[in-house]
């Protein structure tokens, strides 16, 4: 408890060293997650693994700075909307396959418009787009799950209602 009061701006969290380093490292982890999502059709990983890494970067921020700081950064309704947007984009790609190609999930970009060369970033049609949609959805969902689970306080008495829960 004494360490928390010694912090410079009085926000809950860890010491100054941890806060400084983690705010730099968080950006690198976020970038690494985006790399895994974008190159999902060339290297192992793809939408799900990249999404988990992006959510992990926000968890690092939550551990170092405290939950309220992250809530100002990326609030719950915004994350919920991003979640629905990601899922909707994925469904949109499937339906565009029906409209332009004749069957759900047809890789219409590869077959008609934009074949690209193999093993480049722009290749394999709609697969990178699906990866981006899935990455967005998984990152937002996992962030929401861990954020909602962390609302339960560590030292509460059973039976008393906890603030901020519905």
């Amino acid at each position: 408890m004494a360490e928390k009061e010694k912090n410079s701006n009085g926000v809950k969290g860890m010491t100054v060293i941890v806060k400084t380093i983690s705010s730099w490292v968080k950006v690198l982890i976020f970038l690494f997650g985006i790399y895994i999502i974008l190159f999902g059709h060339l290297t192992p990983g793809g939408g799900f693994a990249g999404g988990v890494i992006v959510a992990g970067s926000y968890v690092l921020l939550m551990l170092a700075f405290g939950r309220e700081f992250v809530e100002e950064n990326l609030s719950l309704p915004v994350a919920s909307r991003l979640d629905c947007l990601g899922a909707f984009l994925f469904a949109l790609i499937a339906i565009l396959g029906l409209a332009l190609g004749g069957s759900f999930f047809v890789n219409f970009l590869y077959q008609k418009y934009l074949p690209g060369e193999a093993l480049n970033l722009i290749s394999a049609g709609t697969i990178p787009l699906s990866n981006i949609a899935i990455g967005l959805k998984v990152a937002a969902s996992l962030f929401l799950v861990i954020f909602t689970l962390s609302i339960c306080c560590k030292d509460f008495k059973p039976g008393t209602p906890v603030n901020g829960k519905e």
């Binding site: 290297t43 192992p44 799900f48 193999a118 093993l119 799950v145 909602t148 689970l149 339960c152 509460f156 059973p158 039976g159 906890v162």
Partner: protein, 120 residues
């Protein structure tokens, strides 16, 4: 032989999920069972002396190289199945943990022998 060890891990998870009295331990037992099944599924695709099923520039140079790659790589289909199964078990785990936490708030204990309001 390795498949038998996988089955042993599955049985350990099943024992833990059935016998233990703490809710969190039951959840851990179910997760161990899931890991055992995922491990079994990946081991099915193994080919002795195989390599990872990732194409790179060297494999696309000639048809011969490509045929050699196809005949020596491990089966990629179980890997896609395991990816799906891991995502499903993640969703299931999140739901189970949140129900455990909410039950602790209402009843005050994690012990399932004391959470017995529904009887008959």
């Amino acid at each position: 032989m390795l498949y038998a060890l996988c089955f042993l891990l599955f049985m350990i998870g099943l024992y833990c999920a059935v016998v233990k009295k703490n809710m969190v331990k039951i959840v851990i037992g179910i997760m161990v069972m899931e890991y055992a099944v995922n491990l079994f599924l990946i081991m099915l695709g193994y080919r002795a002396g195989g390599e990872a099923p990732i194409i790179d520039k060297g494999h696309l140079e000639s048809a011969n190289e490509f045929a050699k790659f196809v005949s020596s790589s491990v089966d990629p289909l179980p890997q896609a199945l395991v990816l799906t199964a891991i995502v499903i078990s993640l969703g299931s785990l999140a739901l189970m943990i949140s129900i455990c936490i909410r039950t602790y708030e209402k009843y005050g204990t994690f012990d399932i022998t004391e959470i017995r309001r529904l009887k008959g």
